[in-house]
């Protein structure tokens, strides 16, 4: 047993770190580290730099323009970039529809879409959840009916993250209402600019616009925009959701946030003593740090197994549960750390380029909002209750 990275892996981590420090726009880095709002261009600017370096698709085969890295290098790449304050790679193209098209798309789709995902020319969003279909995704009702050379799509998707930036959406639609619910679902690729597609913002309780509803009203989608075979959409969706799980625990981002928590707790004072030196708060930080240490080693165990050829199974569901809990604890402690300054609502202070006078310490403005917002991480991508259902079957045989 050897818990250390090899020399090559350490050298690779150094290379990734040096790249981030040289190439990441300091203003964007500052916004990521301080939980400020990120613009579309903040994401895309970094995406293009990674693309120029050939590092934007660690999980894709070399033949399709990816890095073809093993699980360890993918993990290092993601973790180091997160720690350095890089914006996350927008997952919908690179981590979601890209791998699906590589596995199940036809040649025309691969030729057309894959280079555009790599270059950042297309921004995809995900059309899975519906108002009546959350945890029970297979009950989805958005339907597509073939009419000549087109699918005619009617229905509604929801929780569509960053649909306001997207020009394309991959959608699960019901193409056959007569068969078992999982078998009547297909996956369609839809241009967001098609007549009949409407995006409506959903504002969350932190005042932010991150998610949307997407309505389809007689939207005509070219027949060839189906992925693979009709009725196989559920299989592709499961593939998509299980693909590239090595980063699911967000260890790099959690380490970055732990550092930030410690910085804030060192700056805050209780009766002249830094908050981080008070017993109660210091032990709270220690408790989440220990959870994070366990999470990191568990994650490394999973990727080591993956590198040696074992497909990830129950580990990914466990990492999702614990990873979400760690992220939520960190945001909660940061909010607690600022005490009464968690109250003021100052959304302007999150805007890029804002240089007004902060209310209270300059790190306070995003903290309560981020705490509220991060309740989502134990809900999205399969709620923690669903993860436990899966584990009780797959791990325990119950």
């Amino acid at each position: 047993m050897d818990l250390k990275y090899s020399d090559e892996e350490r050298a690779f981590a150094d290379e990734v770190r040096a790249f981030a420090r040289a190439e990441l726009d300091p203003a964007v880095r500052e916004r990521v580290l301080n939980h400020k709002r990120l613009s579309k261009e903040d994401y895309l600017g970094w995406h293009r730099k990674l693309h120029a370096k050939g590092w934007v698709a660690p999980n894709w085969p070399v033949a399709h323009g990816g890095c073809g890295w093993n699980a360890v290098n993918r993990f290092i790449h993601e973790e180091v970039l997160a720690e350095e304050g890089a914006p996350p790679i927008v997952a919908f193209g690179i981590n979601m529809i890209g791998p699906v098209l590589i596995a199940f798309g036809n040649d025309a789709q691969k030729r057309h879409y894959l280079p555009r995902i790599l270059s950042g020319e297309d921004w995809w969003c995900q059309g899975f959840s519906e108002p009546g279909s959350g945890s029970d995704l297979a009950s989805l009702r958005t339907k597509a009916v073939l009419d000549g050379d087109h699918w005619v799509v009617n229905g509604q998707k929801t929780w569509t993250t960053l649909a306001q930036h997207a020009n394309l959406i991959f959608c699960l639609v019901r193409t056959d209402p007569t068969v078992k619910k999982q078998e009547g679902i297909s996956m369609l690729l839809i241009d967001m600019n098609t007549p009949g597609v409407t995006v409506r913002p959903i504002i969350t309780i932190d005042g932010e616009h991150e998610v949307n509803e997407v309505f389809f009203d007689d939207v005509r989608v070219p027949k060839e925009n189906i992925v693979g075979e009709p009725g196989k959409g559920w299989t592709y969706a499961k593939f998509l959701l299980s693909h590239e799980r090595s980063g699911i625990a967000r260890v790099g981002a959690a380490k970055r946030e732990l550092r930030r928590l410690k910085t804030i707790a060192a700056a805050e004072q209780v009766d002249g003593v830094p908050l981080i030196e008070t017993k109660a708060f210091r032990e709270k930080i220690a408790a989440v740090e220990i959870e994070l240490m366990a999470l990191e080693v568990s994650n490394l165990r999973m990727i080591a197994a993956e590198k040696s050829g074992q497909a990830p199974g129950a580990e990914a569901n466990m990492l999702k549960i614990k990873g979400s809990e760690v992220q939520q604890s960190l945001t909660e402690l940061m909010m607690e750390a600022v005490g009464p300054y968690a109250l003021p609502f100052d959304p302007d202070a999150l805007e890029p380029g804002w240089n007004g006078e902060p209310i209270g310490p300059d790190y306070a403005a995003p903290l309560a909002g981020t705490y509220f917002n991060y309740r989502k991480v134990s809900i999205y991508g399969g709620s923690n209750e669903i993860q436990r259902n899966i584990l009780s079957k797959s791990l325990l045989g119950l």
Partner: protein, 377 residues
């Protein structure tokens, strides 16, 4: 032993229930918050008509009298409706404090105006570096030819956006964490040298940060004895906490009701999600947390005017710990069981979650009061 409401309290409950039912639906509230003041002045006038702005104020000053238990009835209803009007800052921290510590002249001048709904008050005590420590006051008051000159900064003054008068604490002697040497002064909103930065809080209530630069007030503006304001402020804050506990109980009750309704009506996998045992148990825990919180809110309101300061602060801190923990469990569980809808702006549930979270941050979180309780044991 009798935990039932008095006749007066039953009437108060009916009056305020009807008021919020008719005037404070979730959509009404949205409009009120989006309005120019962030709260409703017409509604405040209605509070006055109904006598709510006379609660806890002595009859000789035009009020209805009444105990913290009476105010708690209003607090609970306002918690259920997420009322954002600065009722607690004006009635409890402002008028309440004047009632037990103000001079006869101060009471005679100001309290009838509060009763009439014409005056908003706010306690400006917390400072940028004080966190939850009440003895931490750096703002100074220097004697100057019979007057005082106040200089310093006050942070997150609840109701400070609307206040016509502030009760401002300042040091007349000692250094920043001394228990002695803090005095309390009435400062009008338009005082020269007073800068007010008003803002909304993330739960829809409002506050302000103040900067005082040689603000001149006469000696008659002082509340209580010179240098002896810490016990006054402590009692004022304890009473505000008792009010907040009752308000939180109202918010928890409403959020539990919303969540239970969702469990019964939301179907997934062909059945109501309330048929899943893991959610049933979680909902039961939320109900238990609510009842524990209710018990402690009752206790805090009962003890908050106890002449024994130690008895009072033990009960209040214990209640604040319970309220903080119950509110956290109920808020987080409610969001989790609702899924994404639980954190959308257009659904009421998330707004209760926000209010409960901010109540825990107001006048000391659960950690703060746990150590205060332990120290007083």
């Amino acid at each position: 032993m009798d935990f039932s409401l008095s006749e007066t309290q039953r009437m108060l409950a009916e009056t305020t229930d009807r008021l919020v039912r008719e005037r404070y639906g979730f959509e009404d509230r949205k409009k009120i918050i989006a309005g120019p003041d962030g709260f409703s002045r017409p509604l405040w006038a209605q509070f006055a008509e109904l006598g709510l702005t006379g609660l806890g104020i002595a009859e000789e000053h035009g009020g209805l009298g009444g105990t913290m238990g009476d105010l708690a009835v209003v607090a609970e209803t306002f918690g259920r409706a997420l009322v954002v009007e600065p009722f607690m800052p004006t009635l409890v921290l402002g008028a309440g404090t004047l009632g037990f510590a103000g001079s006869e002249a101060q009471k005679a001048e100001l309290l009838p105006q509060v009763v009439a709904g014409e005056l908003f008050l706010a306690l400006a005590h917390g400072e940028p570096k004080s966190r939850y420590t009440l003895a931490h006051v750096e703002t100074t008051a220097t004697a100057d030819s019979g007057d005082y000159l106040l200089t310093g900064a006050k942070a997150v003054v609840l109701g400070g956006d609307a206040a016509d008068r502030f009760l401002v604490s300042a040091r007349t002697s000692g250094t920043k964490s001394d228990a002695d040497g803090i005095s309390l002064f009435l400062v009008p909103r338009d005082a020269a040298g007073l800068a007010i930065r008003a803002y909304p809080n993330i739960d829809g209530t409002r506050a302000a940060d103040l900067v005082l630069d040689r603000v001149r007030v006469p000696a008659s503006a002082r509340i209580g004895e010179i240098g002896q304001a810490l016990p006054i402020v402590t009692q004022a804050v304890d009473r505000a906490i008792a009010y907040l506990c009752a308000e939180a109980v109202g918010a928890m009750q409403a959020l539990n009701a919303l969540t239970l309704d969702y469990l019964k009506t939301r179907t997934q996998f062909g059945v109501p999600i309330g048929s899943f045992q893991v959610l049933q148990h979680r909902m039961v825990d939320m109900e238990v947390a609510l009842e524990q919180a209710r018990s402690m809110a009752i206790l805090a309101c009962d003890r908050v005017d106890d002449p024994d300061a130690r008895e009072r602060s033990r009960a209040v801190s214990a209640a604040k710990v319970q309220i903080g923990r119950s509110g956290r469990l109920i808020g987080q569980s409610s969001v989790q069981m609702h899924g994404g809808i639980g954190i959308t702006d257009e659904y009421a549930g998330g707004h209760y979650f926000k209010r409960l979270t901010l109540i825990d941050r107001t006048f000391g979180d659960a950690d703060h009061h746990l150590s205060r309780f332990a120290a007083a044991a």
